[in-house]
């Protein structure tokens, strides 16, 4: 597709996980778990006479995100009414922000194939979420639990030139929201929702062609599939001499295909005007500074720290900081005195392998059967030479995972402590060499590689528990004596 360029902008809706809703004291609940309409009040239902009151915590979360996305926070932002009719919108208008958003002109860094790229964030504004409609045979049901939940809409500039870049941006943004603790990132619950605006440009074109908007993307994986599908569709249409009509599209997961939800014959008409029920929001510089001072370390910062201070590779540091929970797990290991490189190596290979096998997402590392503390105690045994790496990996770790027992207990019960006694090892080396005179002869004839086979047999005789360094030293010495 070399003659075609893809251009993508992402609109991200992130619920701010506050205790109460954006404009009332009504509690925010898990919209998947809670019984429908169990967390509603007069305001969430749009009852006449109710008035909105701004949730300061939600504004603070919004400002935190704005700062984390390197945005300017204008000294004044303002709510506006966005007017349209739909049963999930109780008042017939959504309180949102229009020409005076909470945050503007930001950017984040992404990396695709090792290439860093700066993606501009156009704006982030606060609004209230809508209710949720369920269509069934008998009609449509509406659940207002979600109506009025604080929602931050983050709009990127059209700086994303491939599905891979869109994915990297989406993952980075999700990671930042999770680091800030303002959003769980759980797309299956709809607390984080992506919409992709996709258009293409022929190499001879001066401007972008028609844009379509893909909604209903319930995972980043589906977003990538949908973008690839849509880009291919648009190029195919243009190649056939047809046109792309501006439309709202949906990703149909079952069909693995794009479905047109509606064609946009003209620009949406929302009749925005300033919300008369709310004063403008003044954001003092002191407030911004206070919020800034409370910002936790963010992934980019942490990644630099891991590389510069702990000596990790950029790749490992990237893997370890992608998820806040993983970074925390890793830092707990290092905090327990485990060498950073050892900790990174064990975590990204052994622990991730166990998690993959159990189909546990990385972000759930905080609740795996192996707490950072227990895992650190295993690594400490290796570091101290009490057991060797192989025993730790093949025998102790799996049992810790399944039984929940401590490393020390498993080592004691199963007698797995490493054998470092030079005299004992020396005897076994002699015995093994005696039993394998053919291998010894080949070694002595100049085939150095045979030493590994001999080493393996000695370790086997030690039931894997031999201290590899002591064994190797004893073996080399004996063979030298025989030469």
């Amino acid at each position: 597709m070399g003659e075609w360029m893809t251009v993508i902008g992402l609109e991200v809706h992130a619920e701010m996980e506050t205790a109460s809703k954006m404009f009332s004291r009504c509690p925010v609940v898990d919209s998947v778990e809670a019984a429908p309409n169990s967390a509603v009040d007069a305001l969430s239902l749009g009852m006449p006479g109710t008035l909105p009151v701004i949730n300061r915590q939600a504004m603070e979360f919004g400002i935190m995100v704005g700062l984390a996305l390197n945005c300017e926070i204008p000294p004044i932002n303002q709510f506006a009414r966005k007017n349209y009719f739909y049963p999930d919108l109780p008042k017939g208008y959504q309180i949102s922000q229009y020409d005076r958003p909470l945050a503007i002109h930001g950017h984040i860094m992404i990396e695709v194939d090792g290439e860093p790229k700066r993606i501009r964030v156009r704006r982030a504004h606060m609004e209230e979420d809508t209710g949720k409609l369920t269509h069934s045979m008998g009609g449509s049901l509406v659940d207002y639990n979600r109506a009025g939940v604080p929602l931050l809409e983050i709009v990127s500039e059209p700086d994303l030139y491939s599905a891979a870049e869109a994915e990297a941006y989406a993952r980075k943004l999700r990671s930042i929201l999770r680091y800030l603790g303002v959003n769980s990132g759980d797309m299956s619950k709809g607390v984080l929702r992506f919409e992709a605006n996709v258009s293409v440009k022929h190499k001879d074109d001066a401007d972008l062609r028609e844009r379509t908007e893909i909604k209903n993307l319930n995972s980043i994986r589906n977003m990538v599939k949908a973008i690839d599908y849509e880009v291919a569709r648009q190029i195919r249409l243009y190649r056939r001499g047809e046109t792309v009509k501006p439309a709202t599209l949906g990703w149909d997961e079952a069909a693995q295909a794009i479905q047109v939800q509606r064609y946009k014959e003209r620009a949406d008409e929302y009749r925005y005007f300033p919300e008369p029920d709310l004063p403008v929001v003044e954001v003092s510089r002191a407030w911004v500074e206070q919020i800034k001072s409370k910002l936790p370390a963010l992934p980019d910062e942490l990644q630099r720290h891991f590389v510069d201070e702990l000596g990790l590779s950029a790749y490992d540091a990237g893997v370890l900081t992608a998820e806040k929970a993983v970074a925390q797990y890793f830092m707990a290991l290092v905090g327990s005195g485990i060498d950073a490189k050892v900790a990174a190596n064990w975590l990204t290979t052994e622990v991730f392998r166990l998690m993959n096998a159990a189909e546990i997402e990385r972000d759930a590392i905080g609740s795996i059967p192996l707490s950072a503390q227990r895992f650190a105690s295993l690594l400490a045994l290796v570091q101290a030479g009490t057991i060797n790496q192989s025993t730790a990996r093949k025998q102790v770790l799996p049992e810790m995972w399944t039984s929940g027992k401590d490393a020390r207990q498993i080592v004691d019960e199963r007698g797995l402590a490493q054998v470092s006694d030079a005299a004992l090892i020396g005897d076994i080396v002699e015995a093994v060499l005696a039993d394998n005179d053919e291998l010894v002869a080949r070694y002595l004839a100049g085939n150095d590689k045979v030493i590994n086979a001999l080493f393996g047999r000695i370790m086997g005789a030690l039931r894997g528990k031999g201290d590899p360094a002591v064994v190797r030293r004893a073996l080399t010495e004996k063979l030298a004596e025989m030469a």
């Binding site: 007069a42 239902l45 749009g46 009852m47 006449p48 006479g49 109710t50 008035l51 909105p52 009151v53 701004i54 009414r81 007017n83 009719f85 049963p87 109780p90 008042k91 017939g92 208008y93 449509s140 509406v142 620009a267 008409e269 009749r271 925005y272 005007f273 008369p276 029920d277 709310l278 004063p279």
Partner: protein, 486 residues
């Protein structure tokens, strides 16, 4: 026993305190008055005698135990724009038929806490849109002074109920004159508080940046008594003012010497009924004789008030009325699909005026028109505010007629929406600028219909308007005249 329906609130409180009468007596006398006269006047959409009698008994018990809350046992009623927990609230509209709020409006809750006794819900122009109460979705209310004339609007029921002695005080709402004009048409006293002085929580919104709840009563002093209860900051209304509320009952005492009162030339312009002008100018003379200094002033942008008001108010109304879609509350008419249900529900539920304002507001907010209409109107609003700021740097209050004419006849203006709107021309500026405005009777025309004046004050200067009004009523007896009810 004296006619209990002619007492002022202070008299009634005193008589209850001394044991001369009970709250139950007072309540029953007013319920009787409703029984006798409301079938002709039709001020009430709903009378709530059970609630009233129960609250009156409770008030008597409380008083026996030493309770002296400021409105304990005082019979009142509420414009049906105010939400009442457990009592149907229709806003004068068919579309809200059957809607029972889950909560009390803050002003209502404060009246209840002060011990007031609720006699019912009062008629109004649908969604407070109108100046005659002819736009009620249910029935028109008649002017107690002459049943062929309108009581004014949109709070026509609130004014008529007080004028006909069916309640001692009532609450109404004023978006463009809806408290002051019916008070003027019905010959009683009423206050439109400054924007932000009384909580709007529970007041069903028409024009959110204009709406204010305020009291009607038989005298300025009684208005102050009710105002003292309902005024003040409400955390549920972000546009309500956090500033402390002055003690109106104390601050309204005192003389007028040194006060400067302005007569805005633009408010005495062409089209004013001569008797109205004469009465208001006579009131100005009266105030001068009481020590105030009266002078002519000018409001530079007066002619732009009406268009600016109607553009902004209708834009706000078009959004405020969007929630009446039949999905969650009120009346619903099923259609073949969602859009059809919306159309049928709103088509059947809203009256002509509501529909007209929704359409106008929708139009002025539309892409391509916003700047020319809404944007310009907001700019004009700012200029008008500045005009008033400048005026109130020179004078303490403005004195003007409330309406160009006395109460008109039924049907006389109804078929001409523009003329109906012009009835508000003198009241609207106060809402645009967030001023307070006290309306009080100052005479009668040849047909025997009341004439009203308004005292406009700077935002949050209610106490001073009440003081001028109080002094005026001590020197005159217009407010003591009562209609002869048949």
């Amino acid at each position: 026993m004296a006619d209990l329906t002619r007492l002022t609130i202070s008299d009634a409180l005193q008589k209850m305190q001394s044991g001369e009468i009970s709250a139950l007596d007072l309540c029953q006398a007013h319920l009787q008055q409703i029984d006798r006269h409301d079938s002709a006047i039709r001020a009430f959409i709903k009378v709530t005698p059970e609630i009233a009698l129960e609250q009156a008994r409770a008030a008597d018990n409380a008083r026996a135990n030493g309770d002296e809350r400021p409105l304990l046992g005082i019979p009142i009623a509420l414009k049906d724009v105010l939400s009442t927990q457990g009592i149907e609230t229709t806003c004068g509209s068919r579309i809200l038929q059957g809607y029972v709020p889950l909560f009390d409006a803050t002003a209502v809750a404060r009246l209840k806490e002060a011990g007031a006794v609720l006699l019912g819900k009062l008629n109004m122009d649908e969604f407070a849109m109108g100046s005659s109460t002819e736009n009620s979705g249910y029935f028109p209310t008649r002017n107690p002074w002459n049943s062929e004339h309108v009581p004014g609007g949109s709070s026509g029921g609130s004014a008529a109920a007080v004028a006909a002695n069916m309640v001692m005080a009532s609450l109404g709402s004023d978006t463009g004159g809806s408290i002051r004009q019916p008070a003027s048409f019905c010959g009683i006293s009423a206050l439109k508080p400054s924007y932000g002085r009384v909580s709007r929580y529970g007041l069903i919104a028409y024009g959110s940046s204009f709406d204010q709840t305020g009291p009607f009563a038989r005298s300025v002093e009684d208005v102050a008594r009710v105002m003292a209860v309902i005024a003040g900051h409400d955390p549920l209304d972000s546009t309500s003012m956090p500033a402390p509320v002055p003690d109106y009952l104390t601050e309204m005492q005192g003389e007028l010497r040194g006060l400067k009162i302005g007569l805005p030339a633009e408010y005495f312009a062409e089209g004013l009924q001569p008797e109205v002008e004469r009465a208001v100018r006579a009131a100005a003379d009266q105030l001068q004789s009481l020590g105030a200094e009266v002078r002519e002033v000018s409001l530079a942008h007066a002619e732009y008030c009406l268009p600016a008001y109607y553009i902004i108010a209708m834009a706000e109304a078009s959004a405020n009325l969007a929630r009446f879609d039949g999905v969650r509350f009120g009346a619903r008419v099923e259609g073949s699909d969602l859009i059809d249900s919306y159309k049928k529900t709103r088509g059947a539920g809203f009256g002509e005026e509501a529909k007209r304002r929704i359409m106008l507001g929708t139009y002025t907010l539309s892409a391509g028109y916003y700047d020319a209409y809404y944007g310009k109107a907001q700019a004009v609003r700012t200029l008008i505010r500045r005009d008033f700021d400048a005026l109130f740097a020179q004078v303490d209050a403005l004195l003007a007629p409330v309406a160009p004419t006395t109460a008109f006849r039924f049907g006389e203006v109804m078929d001409d929406p523009l003329r109906m709107i012009l009835a508000d021309v003198l009241t609207i500026s106060a809402n645009l600028a967030g001023l307070c405005g006290l309306s009080l009777p100052c005479g009668f025309d040849e047909a025997g219909l009341p004439i009203g004046l308004q005292l406009l004050g700077a935002p949050f200067d209610e106490a001073r308007m009440l003081r001028i009004g109080c002094a005026y009523q001590e020197a005159t007896d217009w407010h003591l005249r009562k209609p002869a009810l048949t």
